[in-house]
Symmetry: C2
Subunit: 341 residues, 2 copies
């Protein structure tokens, strides 16, 4: 029996926040895997902010998605057919399947998921790219030392909440900001932040930041950019570090934002600003994932997911990332999860 | 016999480029050294851009000079009287004497100069703070690897010319920009730069930079800020480094300059921006100075000085640093040099 494949492709390049007409939903027979390939049925599709950059035709760290191409993204899939040694029908794997119900991939590019560690959806969150981003970025780029203050923006997000918890585990004071009172409460109560404020209801970001970080900031893990990033930069202590992970506040901007030139301030405080990608540290993925899984096993690390049902709802759900309507890791449930209890 | 001391003090805080009325020249008897102190007669006074920041009452890495206080600065002096073991009358020392003809300092804060290495004025240049700034900043902050491209702005200056020569010695391709054709020729012919352009006569900074650095820039040693800094940032290669030493183009600015927010670009190219001060690496001063002296001894390192005679001319000479009228290390000859041939 040939399965039918549904896929969401880029119909045109978005201007600002994507709209429905920027995408097409196509349907056709699922492809067959060639020698060395596997065919997966998508169970979960992650939605991450970086995908917005790949929809543009500007220089970025990813190649632009071609017009008519499937939107990129990591997925958790069930292997329907394998022509690659070491991957078997029925395996649950992480694969860069994109926004589609079925994907064919080289067998060497899929990673088998150990369902005994945590629900398999976490392969897209705390035990996947966002968790590794937090781990590599905080520990290798931010280099926090015990007793220092770590500040993280978008603190309840898939990356931010993991950053905050790792910072707490390694002995730092942890502060953050998030976009709703419910998210703030989650950071404080579930993730163990020492301080967190709601940046949407706060009319003095710099003042709230000073109150949250009375000893200044030693490591700023930057997810947002814009006003919050500038306030955090101004409150970095001498020899402070800024791990630049994302600038979601301007991913839909059509004109560059102008800011006061920060270079002189970098000298005054001897600040190190380092942009990074999770893939820069891929050699350390497995050790970092093992450490994260250990913290989950001993109850020191939690996570939060929001599920949206149906591939066809991916475009609308995607915009929640930019409008604050999402909480934790945003995941599209594309098909049945055979591991779900 | 009591010597007369002349000193230049801050009469008021400059707005923009300093003017004569911002300073007073006072005269009084020279002080006597107390126990543990030495009295020096100033031979050479260095003029450095950082002094402009210390004239302001804004947060910087230096405390502001108080109104009525002597303008700060390193000097080469002859010891007239010493009440500190290990420093003797007649010694030639480096001391933070400031803009005055005589200074009293703790004996532990003076450094005896080895006149056999080079003319003692180089204790204020290539073998002093500017040379150490270049050495620490390029090698420890920029971390250039052989075969990489290093770009340095203000390339004929006391710091820039040393940066370029060190980069050449460690096996890098070296490019720079300077503010006159004569300075450009000095960088190319005397300092061994591979490329250098005149940024004052160039109407396309980005284009000139591309031509000077056809393989992009791996390390940008930033002395200037502003348009040149932005062009260099945009041409940094992946994993490029920016050692931020100074932003002289805006030291006299009365309003902050607005620039396109660079954070996203830092991610795209995985750029590391690091502000630094020479004093951050003081533990390595002696080893760095020895290395610089070795390069001078074997003919691989040159330097250039411009002398101005008379302490009273320091304020007018100081502005040359910002107007491009200086060439190499700017030094005021305050008194006779007993080591001069």
């Amino acid at each position: 029996m040939t399965e039918r494949r549904r896929r969401i492709v880029l119909a045109r390049r978005p201007r600002g926040l994507p709209v429905a007409d920027d995408f097409d939903l196509l349907e056709s027979d699922a492809p067959e895997p060639a020698d060395g390939e596997v065919l997966t049925r998508t169970v979960y599709l992650t939605l991450d902010p970086y995908m917005r950059g790949a929809m543009d035709d500007a220089e970025s760290y990813d190649d632009p998605i071609p017009l008519g191409g499937v939107i990129v993204g990591a997925t958790v899939g069930e292997v329907l057919a394998s022509r690659h040694d070491g991957v078997s029908e029925g395996d649950i794997v992480e694969v860069h399947g994109g926004w589609q119900s079925h994907a064919v991939a080289p067998g060497g590019a899929v990673r088998k998921i150990d369902a005994s560690l945590a629900p398999v959806s976490t392969a897209l969150g705390v035990l996947g790219m966002p968790g590794l981003t937090a781990h590599h970025g905080l520990l290798k780029v931010g280099e926090p030392r015990p007793g220092e203050t770590v500040f993280v923006s978008a603190a309840s997000g898939a990356v931010g909440a993991t950053v905050g918890q790792i910072a707490r585990i390694v002995g730092c004071r942890v502060a953050g900001c998030a976009g709703s009172d419910e998210k703030v409460a989650y950071c404080l109560e579930d993730c163990g932040f020492d301080a967190c404020f709601n940046h949407r209801t706060c009319d003095d970001i710099a003042g709230a930041l000073r109150a949250a970080c009375p000893d200044g900031i030693d490591v700023n893990f930057e997810n947002v950019g814009g006003e919050i990033a500038r306030a955090a930069t101004m409150q970095l202590n001498e020899h402070g570090r800024m791990a630049v992970c994302g600038t979601i506040s301007n991913y839909n901007a059509t004109d560059p934002e102008l800011v006061p030139d920060p270079l002189w301030w970098h000298i005054v405080r001897r600040i190190r600003v380092q942009g990074f990608l999770v893939t820069d540290y891929a050699d350390d993925d497995e050790s970092a994932r093992a450490e994260l899984a250990g913290w989950i096993a001993d109850g020191r690390m939690t996570w939060r997911e929001t599920f949206v049902d149906g591939l066809e709802n991916a475009p609308a759900a995607f915009n929640r990332l930019f409008e604050g309507g999402n909480f934790g890791k945003l995941i599209v449930r594309v098909g049945d999860d055979p591991t779900a209890g």
